[in-house]
Assembly symmetry: C2
């Protein structure tokens, strides 16, 4: 299927100039051309390929195309617990509310919770995400069915010894075989190492070995809380980042969520090991974990991307909010109004996330890239006037400004209507699960 | 005109239980009744008054009614400068960008800039705001024409001596006479005392005397930056709060914007003088001013309300964002996940703001109150499920979830369409002004 988007403003990436009234040609799953002055005007650019015949043409006037946003750390099915437990102490939240509620989740709940999360993300211009949760078969199935792009994390580490099996090597390999590269390549499989503090060193070392053997990236929670930092220093003599390096966990590509309490030496090590840090500002604030040293990380050259975390601690999956919050928060905390510019926040939410997740063929609107993009309406009071498109995107735009979303060349939302997801059923099924927690 | 909203969920205030499937009766500009079980069901409540005949009936099913939000500190016409200057040092921002651009604003620009701001606020459920800016005749006219409720601040203090006139007493009195209580009582007039640092003590003392004479509230910027605090201590030996008290500025009702750098003694004085603090978390972060000690203020019993500040430093007029940010930020900063609960944030954005602005007949959905309310659609993925309505409102809802807005008993937005504002013209006129800055 060939698609032509006509006469649209385009932010190709955080680093390329805005194109006005351009045409975007999509052939199959890839962007074939992006050109200004399609009418042969002053731009002097080459006409589109003669053999390009669009099957569909979308009108882009008054609209803006941006690369699809990448949610680099998420537990999509936690939409099931959106608003279930707020304003509580962390221990109460986790042990009295979240864990018991998760024990009540069926395969079907996870499938529909994930589906609702994907619906919400698509509506907010997210075309790719990085998920870690329970019963991952159901998560992967929901992603396959919805048509979005994602990395799913399978967790082979067992918290209790079952015989001598600390690591479920076979289960993990089977999941990799079944889902790695599935759904026309839209699915990647990462290895979940939930965290350093949850496992004994020998288990983590075995996990690192398995990741290396499978060529898998690792998705881990790292230094989320001051308690984790303190406990690891007391119990193992080092903080989680140095421990992770010692166990071999940083010898493969790593997406480390949070890193709220990383000091300068740890930031240097994250940089040296090419670890991607998934920053989740809403969740870190809401759970009172603190504020990650993102300004320092960016200066050090760490690849920082953005995540929402789960809806139990956000309470949405809205990357526009995370971009804006990241850009505001680090100015206020550092006292530097130039910290985390609009371009930096947008880069974190697009290219940096795509690179972190191993989807480097996405993250920008450029010929040859996969066609993952979102189209926003600009005709709104809160987006008027526009002096600068990146400023409008980061400081003013909302998820609800997204009208149309394309993933892998397929239109998954058109003018606000989802094309692949039964949204009414997803809302119904999630509300039905919520009844279990309320009764 | 009598209005009946049928079968709607209602959050009457931050402190009252949610009503489900209730009816709201509005007679003229006031709420006549709010009752559950309109069908004479199990609630056992009295039926609506026999003589109540609605002229219009709105269907409330699947929707939620909330008190209209109150934006307690705003420069609405700064929509003209939305996105004009971001990610800059404060001095550069103010002196090289904002001040020269303001010098290019005509009466017409201010009128349409304010109108666009009001359109944006109505779309986001704001029914009342507190404005301070230039050429206030135009601001007041725009408010009158739009039908929203507002306090406008007239600034009688002159920064330069013109003869012996430090205070424009006559101009100020004339504005009060013309606009105080105008537009069916929707308009109040405050006195703008821009800040303590901008004027000499004798001017401020004269301003305080005039405010007392007129019975006016004072709208002031107080302790926004560390620089202000340091300068006043160095130059006048006290910080701005104690100086303001000494000049007599705190002897009338005061709405003090920001108070980012208030220490414990100053918080105690703000409490003692019944000063209302307008917290503007987005703007304080974006301009790198810091984080106001809101948790302490709330504990001390200070009346804290919420504001957006102007669109040049926000970059929107979206009080849903400010509620969420206030609830998240102070948890993350204080390390206490119970700081600024959803109910506290919602109270700040409703009742506390209404009280601060002298509109105590608004701020709740209760019989006898003025009919200022917003109706949201709940049928959205990001609002599913709902375990708790206040959580959904503060942590998950967006301005774009607002469908219908009523101010003073009049429907100013219905199903997303504004009824009093020529929104296309407002967008056009603001975009036209922006051309002046871009050329």
């Amino acid at each position: 299927m060939n698609l032509l988007i006509k006469g649209i403003d385009v932010v190709p990436s955080a680093d390329a100039p805005v194109l006005r009234g351009a045409d975007i040609g999509i052939a199959g799953d890839r962007i074939l051309f992006v050109r200004q002055d399609a009418g042969g005007g002053s731009g002097g650019e080459a006409p589109p390929p003669r053999d390009f015949r669009p099957d569909r043409v979308l009108d882009g006037s008054g609209r803006l195309a941006i690369p699809g946003l990448v949610n680099a750390h998420c537990h999509a099915a936690m939409t099931l617990l959106r608003g279930y437990a707020d304003d509580l102490e962390l221990e109460t939240w986790l042990y009295e509310k979240i864990f018991p509620a998760e024990a009540r989740m069926s395969d079907e709940d996870i499938y529909w919770g994930t589906t609702l999360g994907v619906a919400e993300m698509l509506r907010g211009g997210v075309t790719c995400f990085n998920d870690m949760y329970l019963k991952m078969e159901n998560v992967a199935s929901a992603i396959r069915d919805a048509g979005i792009r994602a990395a799913v994390s399978i967790g082979p580490l067992l918290t209790e010894k079952r015989g001598d099996a600390l690591v479920d090597t076979e289960g993990c390999k089977a999941f990799f075989k079944r889902w790695g590269g599935a759904a026309e390549g839209r699915l990647r499989v990462n290895m979940e190492i939930h965290s350093v503090f949850l496992y004994q060193p020998e288990t983590l070392i075995a996990g690192a070995r398995l990741a290396k053997e499978l060529g898998a990236a690792i998705h881990i929670h790292l230094l989320e809380t001051a308690t984790e930092r303190r406990n690891m220093l007391e119990q193992r003599g080092k903080s989680s980042v140095f421990l992770a390096a010692g166990y071999g966990l940083l010898d493969v590509p790593v997406i480390a969520a949070h890193c709220v309490h990383a000091d300068d030496d740890e930031i240097a090590l994250l940089r040296e090991k090419h670890v991607s840090v998934a920053h989740n500002p809403s969740s870190n604030l809401k759970l009172a974990s603190g504020v990650a040293p993102i300004t320092k990380m960016l200066k050090s050259g760490v690849n920082v991307c953005l995540g929402t975390d789960g809806a139990a601690s956000n309470n949405t999956l809205d990357l526009f909010r995370e971009m804006r919050l990241a850009a505001l928060l680090h100015k206020g905390i550092s006292g530097e109004p130039t910290a985390v510019t609009a371009a930096e926040a947008f880069r974190m939410a697009t290219r940096n996330g795509a690179e972190a997740l191993g989807f480097s063929e996405t993250g920008g609107i450029e010929p040859g890239k996969k066609a993952d993009l979102a189209i926003l309406s600009l005709d709104k009071p809160h987006l008027t006037p526009i002096y600068d498109h990146l400023s409008a995107l980061v400081y003013a735009a909302r998820a609800s400004d997204v009208e149309t979303v394309i993933v892998d060349g397929k239109v998954l939302m058109e003018n606000g209507a989802l094309t692949t997801i039964d949204e009414e059923k997803a809302k119904y099924m999630v509300a039905r699960y919520a009844q279990k927690n309320m009764n």
